[in-house]
Symmetry: C2
Subunit: 103 residues, 2 copies
Amino acid sequence: MNNIFEAIPADLKDEQCETLVESGRVRIERIVSKGHTSPETGWYDQEQNEWVMVLKGAAILAFEDDVSVTLEAGDFVAIPAHKKHKVDWTAPDVETIWLAVHY
Amino acid sequence: MNNIFEAIPADLKDEQCETLVESGRVRIERIVSKGHTSPETGWYDQEQNEWVMVLKGAAILAFEDDVSVTLEAGDFVAIPAHKKHKVDWTAPDVETIWLAVHY
């Protein structure tokens, strides 16, 4: 795959994460969601910084401090390490394609 | 700016590079080109790896080994450190928006 919009799996029962490139502590990945959200309880609490952009579809990211951010095509957000967050919603009827850089 | 497609400068006499986030040796930047190319002579020879994706518009990347890659929306390529390359062409009539991750 060398186009972020291609090779979308037909079966998206589970969210798909694919590492595009990795070197040392940096990992760039594509995530494809379709109605998927984070688990009902708990937060992502990551050791690394993450920069994430939605390229297609839509999603709502929630942070522990009660702030929610709606992301649509082109929207990006930097999530510092240990800033607790979760995915509250992704579009149920179209694929949401994310680019995530962990660093 | 928190959308990669927004805040495009009206004056693109020069290519625009904007750092979106930076931490340690990692830098994520947006580049907006409109007909810009690399200088006529010479190659980019970078100390760091670069992962680059075209999000809008079109560009041709050339490598010293005579390989050229045409990039359109969603196309990406990983350029290892010291792999000599240059931008041979970008679309003259629309903005080409790049996301570049230096790592």
